[in-house]
């Protein structure tokens, strides 16, 4: 094993905090787009008087109101939202390997063979999120202890998340943080 210090960590496995920050940014983007789209659709529907048109058209159809409640209900809305979220991740992982959040943090999802992620593998990876999240997010926390910094969803889909920039830590910030932790350890509270 080489004892020379590595200049940068380009291509190395990305850590938990970077991935968590990228995930948070993605969630913010998804929420923003969802809220905007919902607002836009509701405004459009009210302007076009969709509700009144449907009420007038189907007033004599039995069970129309129940059907409408079903359509506008949580099941359909939840399904559409899920579709959107899944589509968001699968689309970006397939196209560039980077969602907007990962792009900002300089991360990329690649296969263990060093190739781009195909759509099916991306879909598999997303459902791996469910497996990782179920036992109290243990599958995500696994990144902290794994040698290759893989979560359960990475292991299921056969992917790595790597740094795509000349990653190097901020030495001063690290030294200050270690010093603060050392003080906390000595004098808790």
């Amino acid at each position: 094993m080489s004892s020379e210090p590595v200049e940068n960590h380009l291509g190395y496995y990305a850590g938990f905090v970077s991935r968590l920050a990228a995930f948070a940014i993605d969630m913010a983007v998804i929420a923003l787009v969802s809220v905007s789209a919902t607002w836009f659709l509701s405004i459009t529907a009210s302007m076009l008087q969709v509700q009144q048109i449907l009420d007038y058209s189907f007033q004599k159809v039995n069970g129309y109101q129940d059907l409408l409640d079903q359509l506008a209900g949580p099941l359909v809305v939840g399904g559409l939202t899920l579709l959107y979220v899944v589509g968001y991740h699968v689309f970006f992982w397939t196209m560039t390997g980077q969602t907007p959040g990962k792009s900002l943090l300089g991360l990329r999802v690649v296969t263990v063979e060093g190739q781009r992620v195909h759509p099916l593998r991306a879909l598999l990876r997303y459902f791996g999120y469910v497996a990782a999240a179920l036992p109290f997010f243990l599958g995500f926390l696994w990144v902290l202890v794994d040698d290759r910094r893989q979560g359960w969803h990475d292991k299921i889909a056969g992917t790595y998340v790597i740094y795509t920039w000349t990653a190097r830590p901020d030495e001063r910030f690290l030294a200050r943080a270690i010093k603060s932790l050392g003080k906390l350890h000595k004098h808790p509270g």
Binding site: G11, A14, G106, D147, I162, Y163, P169
Partner: protein, 278 residues
Amino acid sequence: MSENKPSDQQNTPTQGSMQPSQALTRLLLGAVLETAQVLFSHLRQWEHALEDQKSPDQASAEQEAVVTAQQAAQDFDPLPEQLPPAAGSSFLSQTATQRASPGLADSLVGFVFEGADRWLVVRGKLRARRRSAEQRLVRAWRPIARPVGHLPGSGSLQAGFERLVERGEAQVQRWAQRGAQETAHSRQLARQAVAASSQVLVHSLTENPEVQELVQTQSMGLAAELVEEVRERAVSADTLVEGVVRSLLRRTPRRELPPPPPQVRALAERIHPPEKKS
């Protein structure tokens, strides 16, 4: 009646004719005049600003000193019947009252400024004395001039003298007119030269690829710097949090990250080519 000689007409500025030496002279003259005007206007502003910054006590003390110096200049007689006692002693004593130990440099500077004030006063006095001397001379000459004027041939002499005076006055007037024209022309030329030079300079700067690159780098630099800062902090936090968790789980701390497989490293380098060492 003034007589316009052909040589005089050739020297007046005409449209379409340009002599390099004349153009250069105009440019230099215009540059000096414009610069002086701008400089003096700025000097006035700066002097006013300095005056406003002074405390009232300081301002009154300086005003008193100026008045004393001016009084000393007024009292100074350039042609005294007897020498004044210890010339400049009031100045020296006035300086001594202002500061405990005036330096040589301060004294010399004060001497220069007071000298300039005194010269203005002296010049006025000399002019007054010259005028009074001229009047005395005219009064003295009149009794002699009257009989000389009645001598035969004196009329033609006088006419010739008057023609000479007229020609001189006409020449001076032409010079004044020409000077006013050239001054205006020179100022315009200088302003145009400055505007054109500025345009050329700005154009060359905008066309210069190095300057363009610098501007682009600067504008992108701030955003890129911010992103890099965030990324570095995230990487630091990765290392830190992992170290904490490993220590909590009693695992051996990791001194170095495990390297990725070669194919993964190659992909990363294709995406982001490593920076070449200088």
